[in-house]
Symmetry: C2
Subunit: 93 residues, 2 copies
DNA sequence: TCTTTAGTTCACAATTACCGAACAATAGAA
DNA sequence: TTCTATTGTTCGGTAATTGTGAACTAAAGA
């Protein structure tokens, strides 16, 4: 819950769900159109990773992250969908 | 989301949902069995109130608060239920 | 090896949350 | 009315958390 309560992190998760092949930090910041230092982006990804919301794997020089859909849906059915739906309602898009 | 991401606040909401007639600060802290200064409790209630999750009304010397069930369900269908369900799963009870 | 790109770690600054003390509001007793 | 007890809010300082730049690590290609 704490991981998803931050506005930047929930928007990262929203972008990750739209990108089938995952995203890295650089792609994320450019899609979010927010100027964010890479150290900050790295911290957000770390929190999402440690809370079990995403997983990341190295692909050469970059780190691609995806949402842990199956695990989340089986553990907390409907939770992520409900949160993202509410978030979209508040933030347009 | 920020209002519900705090462990104390989500447990307050869980208690409020169980209490049909609402609760005040003193009752809440005794039910949660956590030693919390009343100023802290007041702050948590203020955040829940300002985020639209609860409403409060004076009854003599005390302030009784309840969850805004209808408003939340119509605006964000299933959200609060999903969050509380996930919270119970993590915190037993 | 040198360079470039992507990301992490660290230390400090900025922000936020917690808590005690003083205050406000209500109700009942003297 | 005045005094007292109870509930909750506000305020100021401190503790905890978060954000950020600088230095560092890792991988790939020239």
């Amino acid at each position: 819950m704490h991981a998803l309560s931050d506005p930047v992190r929930i928007s990262i998760v929203a972008e990750l769900r739209k990108a089938e092949e995952g995203l890295n930090c650089v792609e994320t910041t450019s899609r979010l159109k927010c100027t964010m230092p890479k150290s900050t982006c790295s911290q957000h990804y770390r929190i999402l990773r440690e809370s079990g919301i995403i997983y990341s794997e190295r692909r050469g020089v970059e780190l691609t992250s995806k949402v842990r859909r199956k695990e989340l849906d089986s553990r907390f059915p409907g939770l992520l969908d409900a949160i993202l739906k509410a978030w979209r309602r508040e933030h347009g898009e």
